[in-house]
Symmetry: C2
């Protein structure tokens, strides 16, 4: 790629960004879009509904930036939970790191690269047609002493990153402890999940649980809720809800047609009335079935060998959690209890064989996904080399000769395609994780986040860097000695592709800001049907797709820091945009679905360490390729030191993210001891872990009371 | 190797075994050897000292076999602890497995191998000069259908081994729980080791510990013993003991010379007296120093940031052990407390930097050991190929032409050399483990056992199988697809070497029975000096060297089960001999030094699973090499099933070997609650973990009281 192509790409993307930002600020002000752009505020009743027309509402403004910037971290914590804060800290951390990196990169490394070895006359003529390779390390001559600048930069940036990582880990783990200490009593602090409860023929499962815990934890045990298999019931409830939705939909059609046209749709009308009666009858039957099934389950006929056990103190729950309960290690297995609304109930319904089969299915599906995605990547890579594309599709030859088209195709299209396809993967990964058998939605998303991270690093980075077949990609790992050298050759070659990728990502950020898909969906649904206005859902932020996406740019920044420092300012712009946009979305759009207490941070930390190590390995290779073996050897202690640092962090901070210490728990218990509100809390705790499927269904009373009005209305 | 060479080797070794057994039965009866052959009985006063001469004592007999055979497992448990029982179970398990294997091997596989494909006339003529290869799988023709017999045998033996492994694991874990349940209260059940105690400038370490545990475990906490740095004191005590030993030695010389010769050694005599006085003075000074240092340490000036904390109940100790104590995970780190006499005190004296350096030293030393041993193995391998040896050392050409010599050199010498060199390794491995920083002698030996196992498998098996340089050996693992095939070619080629190795091992077992080195040592010391008869040490069994040695024969049995079933009867003989000999030694010679409660079994289990998998991988390769691809593919599920089985065992049994469940602990605590002896136990518990270096030294009173008699005697 030449400089002018890059500039075209930057121009297009900056233009699009400004356009999208302006569009957002206008759309955001329209009262009809409030549910798309500020669903949280609407739900919390904080959105001022302006009814009168205002010319100001049609002019773009930057007020939203100010409003997203202003809130302090404590306000963010109150509004989005610790997970929101952690997500925000990723941007702060990245901004700090890449500010330092960009300063070194642009003011030290870039001039060294550009000047090469022979301090030639600085020649800026014909800059637009110069290759971007002039700004990369490949422009420096072999065994040049200028490479020691890169060497020092590698040590310096590792030191800076490790210091910042340590500070951030410490900051977040302190936040986590403080968050716990200041939290109100919550059911999941006092509960554990017990699985594989052995069944005795004579007594019921709930009696078995009660006897066991009363025997071994007499002073701590409070109550237990046996988990039921509710897959059948769940199916019935879904049917009921679908039917109910159809009835309300039917109800809405005649009223609208009455309003719009008074001409005789009477034939259809009467038919509609008949259908309505038929549906109402069916709904009543279904609800009867649901109630029967519910009472069946409540009678204890369909129980899974699992129970949520609640204790009188947090320390009591911790004791039961950490000490193996039963002599047989496969019985009475204890686990952390998730928050009540975070429990993934369908999981308990599946049998052991089903779970085993699901796992196999996940493996097969992953393989298919890999193959599918490799084909896409191969195609995208073809686009960056126009000749290949021309050979493949000869009829495009003439079109591709037009400069603008070729610049768009090489500079913009490939990364746009990658962005698009990559956006399809997160839901699939989440599905895979759900099939693996996690008991909490947060756990599923955490696992999906790890999967996505692997996927992102492998397919967006390595697959693009290591061109060639899958087997040749894997073969690189079978010959570990050559990895640094092969990476040192392959990674710089893709510098221009990744610079273009980073630049395109700005636009994808403004898509996020505009919530394009949600906006279009809302538009269509408003045109097509007048559904009930109260019936809208507040989305939650999909951490499992957003965190890996952000971390990828960190990876790119680190790996290209030495090789092509030109990428750094673009990455810095990405993080600036991201910081503002995600703060805005966290405050206005997304509502937290669960609170892991910042347990996503270790993933971020590990990914950053991985990126650092990758940078160092590439540095080893680069100095080898550039025939500076001394530097190549002297850089070897760096990954070792980084791993030692990581090991220390694992020991020092990671346990805090798994569970709280006896010290913390006992202190918190003592605080509560004299709190009169605790009795009330314990009363609620007893029923906190009831399966929502066993709650009386909503439409039941609704349809019982109003079944005649519903029909009479028609 | 040809059949006659094998027979020569079997003959030599059987002859040597019978000779050694007879020698043992005679030597064992001599009262003067009782301390070598039955130190336990002597120490326990159970050895009947016959003073009158008896002709029977000079005739070999088999009474010792009966006496070793008779005791039941409960008697063994009482006498040798659960570890002794586990060691004995290794032989029982192996005997069971290899009885089945030998029956299949000899009566099914061996005929199939010998007959090859073409049911030729069975031809036993000239058997002694036939190659052993006739009995291996290499004699079966390619893609012969007879190979399906081997295929079925692989499935059958895996099933049998897994069943027996499961039964054994279950048996031993039940034994472990029963052993715990029936045990008397023991200090290490009630204690934990706390490390990295943060120091507060104002209060002493013991106060800090006391405050912390009184605060968070008020109902359970009993007492704590701060660990002191006693390296200096330990040095002083060693000096004192050496000096004391020299004095007693000096004391013994004149008295003996007085008895033996009354001629005038007066000049030397007086000199001796002077020396004696000098030493006695020095001893007194040293002891004064020791006492000063002890009081210094007791005053709390030299404390390590660690303490043994004792609790009022086992469950109380478990709570403190399993729940992280401090908010900062690197402080108040808790660990299982070892038995008081099992604590490895020198470890606490080393500083963090020293431990770090030791670890580096261990790494470097391991590398050196590997290089050294590879040289030895290369030399030994050369011996099995006489031509190579002749080329290397041409002057041996004539000697090697003598049949007996060449048979001894190829059949006997290589394995004897290997045995000898391998016996040098265990002490080195133990030293390495001690440097790694384990706090208990049992942990050191367990770690050394694992190291030895790796070493044994790698150097005695793989290094012999995969001839060639180290790098080429490691390269096999870089190309995982070819591993089965390369092993399938390399392993059968070494069959005769390993058959010879197994046969030689019989003799090494009778060395163990005769305690050759200890016997010679005793003989020399008795000749040279008349040391005090009461001053002898009862040895403990070195599990870290014996367990890997025994397991190697299991590995050989499994890997050669399909390839060269001829090895199986020899292995069976080894295990028979081993069973009797080690039972005899456990009952008469070795005294348990510690009681891990059978924690060596998981090592045995894992090693057996590894051997099975290796057998299956080789089977995959063999069927590939023999051009029976269907069998090669159909055997693939076998390792997967074996690994699944292992995974189940890990979940089902392994936790039992780590710690006891709440159920077990609470039951045991309740039993003790009404025991009046508990108060007395708690009184003892408070001082159980005092560093032995801080105890008043033995010679102190000794020399104080007797210093004048000591001199006056002279």
């Amino acid at each position: 790629m030449i400089v002018s192509a890059l500039l075209t790409s930057v121009g297009i993307n900056l233009g699009l960004c400004v356009l999208f930002f302006a569009l957002y600020s206008v759309l955001r002000k329209q009262p009809c879009n409030l549910k798309v752009y500020a669903p949280r505020l609407v739900a919390e009743g904080r959105a001022g509904q302006r009814s009168h027309f205002n010319i100001e509402a049609l002019l773009p403004s930057a007020g939203w930036v100010r409003r997203a910037w202003q809130p302090s971290e404590d306000e963010l914590l109150n509004s989005c939970g610790l997970d929101g804060v952690v997500f925000n800290r990723i941007f702060i951390f990245s901004l700090r790191v890449f500010s330092v990196a960009a300063i070194i990169g642009i003011f030290v490394l870039l001039p060294v690269n550009y000047l090469g070895d022979h301090l030639r006359d600085i020649d800026f003529s014909d800059l637009p047609n110069k290759s971007l390779d002039l700004f990369t390390i490949s422009n420096v001559k072999d065994s040049s002493n200028w490479l020691w600048v890169h060497f020092s930069a590698a040590y310096f940036i590792t030191g800076v990153v490790c210091y910042l990582l340590y500070a951030e880990y410490k900051y977040i783990s302190n936040k986590r402890i403080a968050h716990f200490s200041s939290s109100k009593p919550q059911p999941h602090h006092f509960s554990i999940l017990v699985r594989d409860i052995p069944s005795h023929g004579r007594s019921s499962l709930s009696d078995t649980v009660e006897t066991f815990f009363m025997d071994y934890h007499p002073s701590d045990y409070l109550a237990s809720t046996v988990v039921c298999r509710t897959s059948k019931l769940r199916g019935l409830i879904t049917d009921t809800e679908n039917l109910y939705r159809r009835i309300t939909h039917l109800k809405s059609i005649p009223s609208s047609s009455q309003n719009q046209s008074h001409t005789g749709f009477l034939g259809l009308f009467r038919k509609n009335g008949d259908l309505m009666g038929h549906y109402a009858k069916k709904l009543e039957d279904l609800e009867q079935n649901v109630r029967l099934e519910q009472s069946d389950i409540s009678a204890g006929r369909e129980v899974a060998p699992a129970a949520f056990v609640c204790f009188r103190s947090r320390y009591g729950a911790a004791k039961a959690l950490h000490i193996r309960q039963s002599t047989n290690p496969t019985e009475w297995v204890t686990e952390h209890a998730p928050e009540p609304h975070d429990v993934y109930w369908p999981f308990f319904s599946t049998s052991f064989t089903q779970r085993w089969i699901s796992k196999l299915v996940v493996v097969v599906a992953s393989v298919l996904l890999i193959v599918l995605f490799l084909l896409v990547v191969a195609f995208v890579q073809g686009l960056t080399y126009l000749e290949q594309l021309e050979a493949l599709l000869p009829f495009l030859k003439n079109i591709l000769k037009i400069t603008v088209v070729s610049q768009i195709v090489t500079g913009y299209l490939p990364s746009l395609l990658l962005h698009l396809v990559a956006s399809l993967v997160p839901p699939i990964m989440k599905l895979f994780s759900a099939m693996q058998g996690y008991i909490a939605i947060s756990e599923i998303e955490k696992s999906a986040c790890n999967k996505m991270l692997l996927f992102t690093i492998w397919f967006l980075f390595f697959a693009n860097v290591l061109t060639g077949s899958v087997t040749s990609q894997f073969q690189i790992f079978l010959d570990p000695k050559t990895i640094p050298e092969r990476l040192a050759v392959a990674v710089p070659a893709q510098a221009s592709f990744f610079i273009a990728y980073v630049v395109t990502s700005w636009t994808s950020l403004s898509w996020e800001l505009n919530r394009t898909i949600a906006f279009i969906g809302d538009l269509i649904s408003r045109r097509c049907s007048k559904t009930n206005d109260d019936d809208f859902q507040i989305p939650s932020i999909p951490y499992h797709s957003e965190i890996p996406r952000v971390l990828l740019f960190g990876l790119l920044g680190f790996t290209y820091f030495l090789l092509a420092p030109l990428i750094l300012p673009f990455i810095l712009v990405f993080f600036c945009f991201g910081y503002i946009i995600y703060r805005n979305q966290l405050l206005n759009v997304y509502q937290p679905k669960y609170d892991t207490g910042g347990r996503f941070w270790p993933i971020v930390h590990n990914a950053t360490i991985f990126s650092l190590i990758l940078m160092q390995i590439i540095a080893v290779g680069i100095f080898g390729v550039k025939k500076l073996p001394l530097a190549s050897s002297l850089i070897l202690p760096l990954p070792v030191l980084t791993l030692l640092f990581n090991d220390y962090c694992r020991k020092r901070f990671l346990p805090i993210f798994h569970d709280f210490s006896a010290e913390t728990l006992i202190k918190k218990d003592r605080e509560d001891r004299n709190d009169p509100a605790m009795e009330e809390f314990f009363d609620k705790l007893v029923t906190a872990y009831r399966d929502p499927a066993l709650m009386p269904i909503r439409h039941s009373t609704n349809s019982n009371d109003h079944s005649s009005p519903l029909l009479s209305k028609v």
